[in-house]
Symmetry: C2
């Protein structure tokens, strides 16, 4: 048995079911070995960023790592942006990166580069396997590292001769599961319980695994019993929401709004979440969004068990029988008339099927999505944890492979869709039930906002040309079809509804291009809060605060 | 004047004319400052790998660096593969990578990562600018680093507050040009002259800048006078060739053929080139392609002046008046009938216009290109220096911007085109005279060859599915049109000729999809030499050697 064959058996034995690949010559023995192991599915991608983003989306839904198969340092480089998103989302993921044969490295051939250095930025575990005999033990250690807690990216570099040599010894994961993450200790629980009982304005900030149903219910019991607010981190790895689940308000992307949400808090209790910070820095504005005078407590660190910690806090606060507030079923009506981003979100709110997975990378056009889907049937939302756009379509590939019985909606802007548009081909090849909705507002609309927010002066036509995606406009219908995905353009709300209906009842991937005006087009930034408030898209606490200020 | 404004003035003063960009929020002040500096052209790309590949192609033709503008570590990560190609090609290139404001870094916001680590693998110069006052001096040092010699990639990391703060001080490049690279010293020249005069089989291996006309002529004089062979490195950064120039045989990609080319040599003289090594390692085969008993000499290291060194060797050998053998004008006839990769190459050979720039990333389908274009009007060929595919279309963007009066042909396979297909949009936006020819053989054909070459056993349907790009096939006509480039599919040689004629006489970009069978389809590897020999595609020395062996 050669190294590659033993490695693949080891992966399959450990429960790895999928490998998202873009191989080259140095990976050919791994590729050949695939035919010996029916338990490992190999999913080809046309670009490594699709492979890494798919592995991220897969693990968010499957709760266990997929492997990627990448070609030396350059292949890994192409995957970095989505590996960054996985790292920031604390997602388990195993990269297998082929390298030159160990004895070939010293010749510095064309594709030679320092793979470990490329890997380091995104991986908390990096190793170049030194021999065929050790390879499978390395793989087992890498897999253990991926599972953390917290979930992590591990990169196993596989020299070609380690892969092709005989003497591979499949290894097994240690019989014990990873050590269960500790829950918060008594002193922490005491301090937090005291803060909650103090009556001072207090909020729980939920992130990571604390946005799944059991934790949401526990947090909602605490809210019901003690009157604390519940917030979700700005970009959740995976949040369960919809009718029948406790609703949680997400911290806003715009620091101006987040400040309103958090205003007046005296205690902020982190549950598998970081203290909120501004996504970017802006001249003269604070980076740290924790209001002055607010004490930050940590109920569960990333390496601790959020669910168990919340359960203990529920007990400590006597909230075991407090009835959590649950979101009532509620759908907007179907939109009509000329298509806008708002109407697309409204249609999705009206039509979202049961148990959908929504991958949300529509930075500006999707601003109303949360409001319109609040009371839709329960669903999961995956978001841009690391801020590296180009995650939406690949993550949808992975989510659909993890959950073949659930419909997946991927919402992208025209700008973000173009980073990893190659994902569409893998959707077509694997016949995945993904509906890709591309909001085409012919611009990097978010940057038009940011250009104002950073206070950059004196910009003119050249600057605008860096933000606009017209001249020429992008035709996603042709691109989708060129990549094998049935695609249509909807120019009215009625057309969009019909296209979504068709896509929902027809298996396989679909793309719907929605040409829409930018939600911020022609907008002066100072008007933004009023606009959003009028649209009902703001987080409820922000909307209330603004209404108090601006309503007549 | 803020940092960004001063930086852009510094770049323009230093002769940087183009910035290939994909900016985000942290780069907004740089973007705004573009409108203050008419000398710097900003070229937007939809993906960072297009920006880095375009900067590479630009510098190969312009002989000076362009800048890229990239968004934090993830943007740089997306650009890594083509930066690797630039590094391996010793191409000058300046990355400007925006970062969070210095004071924001400690909050570890979503996009935070260790940019210097990401940069290190491809950059010989990396610095995070620490203050607005120092920024322009940093930029000047970065630019000096790019010019080497040899050419290098430098990465200047620009924190947002360093960019937006007042107090920028434009700086000038030092008045002296970079120290001229030293030519070979007397002892080296003596030893090499002695080797050449020995009468033992000797070859010059030309790379880097030694593949431009003055060096080629000098090398050809030596060949004419002393009977040495001339070889070019396997993947030249830029080679000048065609009618009227000395022809040079490229070392073959397949080590089996390279071994034949180099067989029997006793002296190999490197001129701005590395000693030849196998592109990949193969079980049981040598990595080092220098034949046993062959002495390797270095006439010009990467940091030395190849042209001056060759000129001195010409003198030393008394070859000043030896007439260099020049390639005679010679064109194949126009092809007819069902389209094949051979006929596409033949048509290009028949129709290549004066002073064309050919970007060659057609790994298998382009195997006959060199043979058919040997006697075409003189042209430049840019190749895949680092082996990281996805370079062809972006490099064509850069070459067309560097040389707006020259036609550019970009030849890609279906596999390689898909890594950076977004480049087509920039061609359309900038109205570049690029003709993209996509050989669509519905596979990673090179990998079908490599799977046999590495001796991987037992591969079956799953392995093949990792190499084939059918199910679904890629429609490059639709993708091209979707990205704004007029595109046609040619299924016969006559259609291809007509499409190429039309593209050559119509300004702006064009895409021609050429559905062709893989040149290796159904081929047993052991038959490959005979097949290629029969097609006349082999390097002449290999073809002669094979004919001696296999001809009846």
């Amino acid at each position: 048995m050669n190294g590659a064959q033993a490695l693949i058996k080891t992966l399959a034995d450990a429960g790895v079911e999928v490998c998202f690949s873009n191989p080259g010559t140095s990976e050919m023995h791994f590729v050949a070995a695939l035919d010996h192991e029916p338990r490992l599915r190999a999913v080809l991608t046309l670009f490594e960023g699709v492979a890494s983003g798919a592995a991220d989306g897969y693990a968010r839904m499957a709760g266990k790592p997929a492997a990627t198969l990448l070609h030396l340092g350059c292949g890994l480089g192409n995957g970095l942006a989505n590996l960054h998103n996985a790292r920031k989302g604390r997602v388990p993921l195993l990269n297998i990166v082929g390298d030159h044969a160990t004895y070939h490295v010293r010749y510095d051939a064309q594709l030679q580069s320092d793979i470990e250095t490329v890997a380091r930025n995104v991986s908390s575990w990096v190793r170049t396997s030194a021999s065929t005999a050790e390879l499978c033990d390395d793989a087992v250690q890498a897999l253990a590292a991926t599972m953390g807690p917290p979930g992590q990216v591990a990169t196993l570099i596989l020299p070609a001769d380690v892969s092709w040599s005989e003497g591979g010894v499949p290894a097994a994961l240690p019989p014990r599961a990873p050590a269960p993450a500790a829950a918060a200790d008594d002193a922490v629980l005491d301090a937090i319980a005291q803060a909650v009982r103090s009556g001072a304005p207090t909020a729980l900030l939920l992130g990571g695994r604390a946005l799944r149903e059991p934790s949401l219910r526990a947090a909602a019991r605490i809210a019901a019993q003690c009157g604390v607010k519940l917030f979700a981190e700005v970009f959740p790895t995976r949040i369960e929401r919809g009718a029948g689940l406790p609703p949680v308000e997400r911290i806003a992307y715009l620091a101006e709004f987040a400040a309103v949400q958090l205003q007046g808090l005296r205690h902020l209790i982190l549950v598998d979440a970081k203290a909120p910070v501004s996504f970017f820095a802006y001249p003269g504005k604070a980076s740290n969004l924790v209001p002055e005078g607010c004490e930050v407590h940590t109920l569960a660190r990333f390496d601790q068990d959020a669910e168990a910690s919340l359960a203990q806090l529920v007990q400590r606060l006597g909230a075991t029988d407090a009835p959590p507030a649950l979101q009532a079923p509620q759908r907007p009506g179907l939109p009509r008339g000329k298509l806008t981003a708002e109407k697309v979100c409204k249609a999705i709110g009206a039509m979202l099927p049961e148990r959908a997975i929504v991958v949300d990378e529509a930075q500006t056009s999707g601003v109303l999505l949360a409001a319109f889907t609040r009371g839709a049937p329960r669903h999961d939302v995956l978001t841009l944890t690391g801020g590296a756009i180009g995650q939406g379509l690949p993550a949808a590939v992975g989510a659909a492979i993890a959950c073949p019985d659930r419909p997946v909606l991927a919402l992208c802007g025209d700008g973000s869709a173009m980073y990893t548009i190659q994902a569409l081909w893998t959707m077509a090849r694997e016949r995945l039930d993904v509906i890709a909705v591309v909001f085409n507002n012919r611009s990097y609309a978010i940057l038009n906002v940011e250009l104002q927010r950073v206070g950059a002066q004196g910009s003119g036509e050249k600057a605008r040309s860096q933000l606009d995606l017209d001249r020429p406009g992008l035709d996603f219908v042709q691109m989708g079809q060129g990549l094998g995905v049935p695609a249509v353009r909807a120019t009215t709300a009625e057309e969009f509804v019909a296209a979504l209906e068709h896509a929902l009842r027809t298996r396989g991937p679909h793309l719907i291009e929605a040409p829409v005006p930018s939600v911020f087009s022609g907008l002066k930034l100072r008007l933004l809060p009023r606009l959003l408030a009028s649209l009902g898209s703001l987080p409820p606490s922000v909307a209330r605060a603004i209404k108090r200020k601006v309503a007549p």
